[in-house]
Symmetry: C2
Subunit: 225 residues, 2 copies
DNA sequence: CCTCTCATTCTGGTATGGTAGAATACCACC
DNA sequence: GGTGGTATTCTACCATACCAGAATGAGAGG
């Protein structure tokens, strides 16, 4: 979505700091509530405060940190509202993608999707921890096949907003099997070009996240704000 | 969506510069391609480069400007792709909102919506230039009535991305009448809780933007990138 | 007249110092 | 011992100076 015109991206100090901090926040190495002083971070990275400031500003735009002038900058916790927002948008996008997909679906689409499904089965048995990324690939693939590459961007954006939650919802292979079954059913509905069935499956598929979120909320309420 | 926890917002210099530049870009006082040198802008506002830098960075996040290190920072033109992206997301959101609305619609919703429609009629005769804002209100109102305040945020966000285009598409009262007719039909479909009809009307309603965009693209191709 | 080279100038990125405001800790005073 | 005021210490913000890369222009060489 960004920097499409210029491909040579100068690697700036602010970029490095930003990406490092982003990673640490997303992976929960930096827990919500952690104070991120410009000076401290600058010392830690051995750079000046300016690029740190820039990086924190960007994190603030993504609502990952809350910068309170003259007070402090802290890592924000999860917000049920923001999660719900991302969920809603994601659902809306997926539904429209499926609608479009049904309109243009053909045999080549089915086979392309089937290759991804085969991979999912294999991964689920060998390296189940990789299932999540393949899950995402599955949905993005449908976007492409439906002729909506834009939707893929939108979905990716939604996922970024709840990246950290996914970190907490690991070790759920039992659910992975359920999700894969959903994917299978969805593929069949697409093949049959049955819009209503595909939409219903999509709704149910995404709604499975809600219970997961609920559990996380009760288990780790300290991470919420 | 932002700064919900802290209500006292310190008005920082960077904020002022940002909002001023944002306004000028959105209103097309600053045309696409205009160079925005940090130093120049700083001199113009009588501040140092630092807050200007911050402001430009934020504008970059919104993709309103393109900052090219060691080269220059320029106002970005419209991008058909980004417009299409906003359009797609908007459509997806609206469709889901309508679906939800049909599920919960009752008489009170109908009357609330009718009040807005009456206003639209009156405005269209007296101050047609105000119709656009009322149009937006109409859609946001449906979000609220449908119990999806989150959708309202999403729609607002989409509109911001094509704010500048709206500036160009003024003076189109003839279309306003068409849009109002759509609104009327949509209201009837909602009252009848006819999901399919409501969705179809919504699709047609939003697709009317496409021709407008096309015209603008051919009339002002110099503003596109 | 064209072309290549190099110096000048402009760009954004970085480092550093200083400032105002908010929080905190401390101490006098009740 | 509890309370109120004050000084210290933090914070992010702003201004200034300097840097390296990129564009631009002029001049030398063909």
């Amino acid at each position: 979505m960004q920097e499409s015109t210029e491909l040579f991206e100068r690697r700036t100090t602010a970029d490095v700091v930003f990406e490092q901090l982003y990673g640490e926040i997303a992976s929960l190495e930096l827990l919500p509530g952690t104070k991120l002083s410009e000076a401290d971070v600058a010392r830690r990275f051995g750079v000046s405060r300016q690029p740190v400031r820039e990086a924190l500003s960007r994190l603030g735009n993504l609502e990952l940190v809350l910068v309170r002038p003259q007070r402090a900058t802290i890592v924000r916790g999860f917000s049920l509202q923001r999660v719900a927002y991302a969920r809603f948008v994601r659902l809306a996008i997926e539904l429209e993608v499926i609608t479009q997909a049904c309109a243009v679906w053909d045999a080549s689409c089915t086979s392309a999707l089937q290759r991804n499904l085969d991979l999912q089965h294999k991964i689920l048995e060998t390296e189940p921890e990789q299932f999540h990324s393949l899950d995402l690939r599955f949905h993005l693939l449908i976007c492409e096949l439906a002729g909506c590459p834009l939707a893929a961007e939108a979905i990716t954006e939604c996922r970024q907003k709840i990246d950290r939650l996914c970190t907490l919802s690991l070790a759920r292979q039992s659910e992975a099997a359920t999700l894969l079954a959903d994917h299978e059913k969805l593929a069949k509905a697409l093949q049959a070009k049955s819009v209503d069935r595909a939409l219903a499956i999509t709704r149910q598929h995404l709604s499975r996240l809600d219970s997961t979120i609920k559990e996380i909320h009760s288990e780790h309420s300290e991470y919420f704000e």
